[in-house]
């Protein structure tokens, strides 16, 4: 039943936050890896909470005790029993605790790093200032700022960067984050236990718009995921209505195609995919890596002045007259 919501629900959730608080929360895990880490956190929280509360209570009691005993002058010299106390409380107990906690930590680390020999779905994500390029190399599908994965299947993600260091983090679906280093590949595994929308965000400061570099993960039942892939495999159909056809001309003439690819229409003139592939733009929920909703008005304003929503974004403003703009928007929203 995800299908009809694919377009509407994300927009609602991303920007109106309908009942979906905490969808970037490490405390609401939806994958075994993230859940293992969450339980490690609760163990750490409880055990250190008890130990530190006892220590602080001891400190406060010591202050209270010494305060009461102000008048009689005690000896200034320390006693050897103090050393014994310090060795027990400061060396003995922490050592026992640390051995236990380190063991749990190493085991959790090993557990969450385990993954199947072969993935059913493999994808590649390339970080850019300030958006995400997403490839499904085995399926020939390219998109941006949204990842679609099947529920209940481990997904292998290869990550790298086209420019500076970014960091890939989907708190609910993966055991933590991993850096996207230019010139190197890192691998992590996503797993969604239930269908739904999940949010991720860049977690390595990557420049002026680091704050607006977010990512949407759509987890759907495998058959719907396959449908989603199939819908993107070929070349998008030729625009049928004349306004959209005019929009395609505008896209090519106004310089958009220098940076943006649309399968079967344009390939970026500049190396390294400076802008997102727009082949399925119409089906995405947001513009500017989850900066604003992807609807007609926002898309038009974004084309004219992307800087207004995302100051410092690499996309330049594109001055267009009303008719051209309307045609371009018409064409772009039809791409899905």
């Amino acid at each position: 039943m995800i299908r009809p919501t694919l377009r509407c629900l994300p927009v609602a959730v991303v920007f109106l936050s309908i009942g979906c608080g905490g969808w970037q929360s490490a405390l609401d895990p939806r994958s075994p890896g993230a859940a293992t880490i969450e339980s490690l956190w609760w163990i750490a929280f409880t055990s250190t909470g008890i130990l530190s509360s006892l220590t602080i209570l001891g400190l406060l009691y010591a202050v209270h005790r010494a305060h009461r005993r102000a008048a009689p002058e005690t000896s200034r010299h320390t006693a050897s029993r103090e050393q014994t106390f310090i060795l027990i409380a400061g060396v003995g107990i922490p050592t026992l605790f640390l051995i236990g906690f380190l063991t749990l930590s190493v085991r959790a680390g090993t557990a969450v790093s385990e993954h199947p020999e072969e993935a059913t779905v493999m994808l590649e994500v390339v970080g850019h200032q300030f958006w995400w390029e997403v490839h499904y190399p085995n399926h020939g599908v390219v998109t941006a700022n949204e990842i679609h994965i099947p529920v209940g299947e481990p997904v292998e993600v290869h990550i790298t960067s086209a420019d500076v260091i970014h960091s890939f983090w989907i708190p609910q679906l993966a055991p933590g984050k991993l850096d996207m280093n230019p010139g190197r590949f890192n691998t992590l595994w996503l797993f969604a236990e239930e269908a739904g929308l999940y949010r991720g965000q860049c977690t390595e400061f990557c420049g002026v718009q680091h704050a607006h570099m977010a990512l949407l993960v759509v987890a759907s039942p495998p058959e719907e995921f396959e449908e989603w892939l199939d819908a993107r495999r070929g070349t998008p159909p030729e625009p049928t209505d004349p306004e959209a056809a005019r929009g395609r001309e505008v896209f090519l003439e106004a310089g958009c195609s220098a940076c943006h690819a649309i399968r079967g229409v344009s390939r970026p003139r500049f190396a390294g995919n400076p802008g997102p592939d727009l082949t399925d733009l119409g089906s995405r929920s947001s513009l500017g890596a989850l900066t604003i909703p992807n609807d007609r008005e926002h898309l038009a304003q974004w084309i004219l002045e992307p800087d207004r929503f995302k100051p410092g974004v690499r996309m330049p403003p594109t001055p267009l007259d009303d008719a051209d703009l309307a045609a371009l928007v018409r064409y772009l929203e039809g791409l899905r």
């Binding site: 956190w41 909470g49 008048a71 050592t95 906690f101 680390g109 420019d163 260091i165 933590g176």
Partner: protein, 633 residues
């Protein structure tokens, strides 16, 4: 000892020998350690206020989602300046200033080993700090974080002047830290009063010795790596350029090889301060002194083996990371030893009254424990993978650096202000300052643990509503205002008490260490008679700091026959009297040397041709500095 310095028969002659010039000329040339130390502390505190204002700007911008109080670019400059200022322009210089002021007094010396080097360090610090802030005022401040990772900071992505200011001025600042460190080490090892063997040294002096040694080992890594980045930017080398075979990981390793020890460079002096304050108010010697000193040495050593815990998410094999996790967790043990030593000292002592200094020390212990336990958590590799670079980390290190360092710094001011000025700070205002600061601090930072776990990354200038972060951020912002207001109370207190506070007398707290044996403020020669030490807390020893077993030439020090500044030198371990050192007096050349070097450092941003010019001028200044005075030894 003597209540009034004037009472000593040699007061006038000593005072003349150690006199500093007055006025502007005095400002440029005076080398006395107390003058330079105080100047370091005051200048550093001004930077603290600036960094605090930057924090307020950031918190206002983050109070509600999608605010536009400041531009993203300005926000990024602001968080970069906040971090860089707190680390490089406040904590380290303040602590150095405190040590420059107190170490000679605590070890019973008249001056530091290299007084002119001291002054040079101050000028370098001042020039570098002011230059960074001029850049900020011009909107050209660095904007890529205090850790300045390439390739974002490389010439390809950040061609502007901002990062140039960072690489040159931070390198320049390290020169200041390094000369202060060298000087602190030599002063501690060679100029202690006779009888103050290493096992009798005050704990603050121990922490400063270890801190200074750590600076000498850690800072060159930062100097080296920022020099490499400067070369990448100014001359087109490719140390960090992937396309040309360079590697940004090189930066990360070198930076954190400095960066993690730097945390303890800031923390150790703070725990040293607390280890001085608690015994005085509990009127009881520090429990398990030897264990505490051993812990300090162990922390200093371990801190060089944990830097990779800043890099868990880079993509290093888990087996390797687990070793760094174990090493990081080990630091718990020496920290716990100190915590239980303080608790034991209080437990067995008698607190006549809870002074503001003591309140700050107690507050420190509690917050340091909280910062410590989150430290254990984030040392665990998988947990770190989730919370790395989120507000959880922001919360953690503010507990360590505000709770663990700024609280002791406030404690140190309340405790030694009487020594610096001869006046007491107002206790009533002090209590308001303490409680508002601690409540505001916890409101701001305790919630940030949750903000981070709920997924909010660090270094974002804004966020969308509906992620569960809104109320957390609003409360954090309100807490910040409470902290800021309490600091205003502190400033008022200092301003009013400096002249109008109650007279302190030489020893208002019944202290045990040597700085309490001289007047407040001390005369410009510190001690007329060289003290002879017979225990860990010399003023608490029944035998006092008496004068029986003194070699005859020691007497001459208190009765100078000519115009030489003399202090005693002693052996490294047992502090047996060895000889007397003649120390230099006021000189304008340290300032000229600092200015000449700043031609090289600042000039490099415009053209590398100015580097040799600056170095040539520096050579001339050094020549003049060391030109033989003609007569004398």
């Amino acid at each position: 000892m003597n209540q009034r310095a004037e009472a000593h028969p040699s007061h006038e002659r000593l005072s003349r020998v150690w006199d500093s010039p007055k006025g502007i000329w005095g400002f440029m040339t005076a080398v006395n350690h107390r003058t330079v130390g105080l100047r370091f502390m005051i200048t550093a505190f001004i930077f603290f206020i600036l960094a605090g204002l930057e924090a307020v700007v950031m918190r206002v911008q983050l109070a509600l989602p999608q605010l536009g109080v400041v531009s993203p670019d300005f926000y990024n400059q602001t968080f970069t300046m906040h971090g860089s200022t707190m680390m490089f322009l406040f904590v380290v210089p303040f602590v150095e200033g405190l040590a420059i002021y107190l170490v000679p007094l605590m070890v019973g010396a008249r001056e530091m080993a290299f007084p002119r080097l001291n002054l040079f360090g101050y000028w370098v610090f001042l020039i570098a700090g002011v230059t960074l802030y001029v850049a900020y005022l011009l909107g050209m401040a660095p904007d890529s974080g205090w850790y300045n990772y390439p390739p974002l900071t490389g010439p390809g992505f950040r061609p502007g002047a901002g990062i140039d200011f960072w690489v040159t001025m931070i390198t320049f600042l390290e020169v200041s830290a390094l000369v202060a460190a060298v000087e602190i080490i030599v002063t501690i090892l060679k100029m202690r009063a006779p009888g103050m063997s290493l096992n009798r040294m005050p704990v603050f002096v121990w922490t400063m010795l270890i801190t200074a040694l750590m600076i000498v080992i850690a800072m060159p890594a930062l100097v080296l790596t920022s020099l490499m980045l400067a070369l990448d930017r100014f001359t087109g080398t490719h140390f960090f350029n992937i396309a040309a075979g360079g590697d940004p990981f090189l930066w990360q390793h070198l930076f954190w090889f400095f960066g993690h020890p730097d945390v303890y460079i800031m923390l150790l002096p703070a725990v040293g301060v607390v280890s001085m304050i608690i015994p005085v108010f509990a009127q009881r010697a520090l429990a398990a002194y030897t264990l505490v000193v051993a812990s300090i040495v162990i922390i200093g050593t371990l801190s060089f083996g944990v830097w990779v815990h800043h890099m868990y998410t880079v993509g290093i094999a888990l087996v390797g990371l687990n070793f760094f996790a174990a090493a990081s967790m080990l630091i718990t043990i020496p920290s716990a030893i100190q915590i239980f030593s303080w608790i034991s000292t209080i437990w067995n002592g008698s607190l006549e009254r809870l002074t503001t200094a003591m309140l700050f020390a107690i507050g420190f212990i509690a917050l340091f424990i909280l910062g410590g336990i989150t430290g254990i958590m984030i040392a665990a590799v998988p947990f770190n993978w989730q919370v790395h670079d989120t507000y959880f980390i922001v919360a953690h290190f503010h507990y360590v650096l505000v709770g663990g360092v700024v609280l002791p710094i406030f404690a140190s001011v309340y405790f030694w202000f009487p020594k610096f000025t001869g006046r007491m700070l107002n206790e009533r205002l002090g209590r308001w300052h303490f409680w508002l600061f601690v409540i505001g601090f916890n409101a701001t930072f305790f919630l940030m643990h949750l903000t981070g776990l709920e997924g909010m990354p660090r270094r974002v200038y804004t966020y969308l509503p509906g992620l569960g972060w809104d109320w957390l951020n609003l409360l954090s912002t309100l807490g910040t205002f409470l902290m800021a207001f309490s600091v205003v109370l502190f400033l008022v207190n200092v301003a009013v008490s400096w002249r109008g506070g109650t007279e302190a007398g030489p020893d208002p707290w019944r202290g045990g260490s040597l700085e309490w044996a001289t007047t407040s403020p001390p005369p410009n020669y510190n001690f007329a008679d060289v003290p002879v030490v017979r225990g860990r807390d010399p003023l608490w020893e029944s035998a006092g700091i008496g004068m029986d077993t003194r070699p005859p030439w020691l007497e001459e020090l208190s009765d100078p026959s000519d115009e030489l500044r003399e202090s005693i030198t002693t052996s490294v371990v047992s502090a047996d009297a060895e000889g007397r050192a003649v120390l230099p007096g006021p000189s304008p050349w340290p300032m000229w040397l600092a200015l000449a070097l700043s031609v090289a450092f600042i000039g490099a941003m415009w053209t590398t041709a100015l580097v040799p010019v600056g170095l040539a001028l520096a050579f001339l200044a050094l020549l003049a500095w060391h030109w033989p005075a003609g007569e004398g030894p």
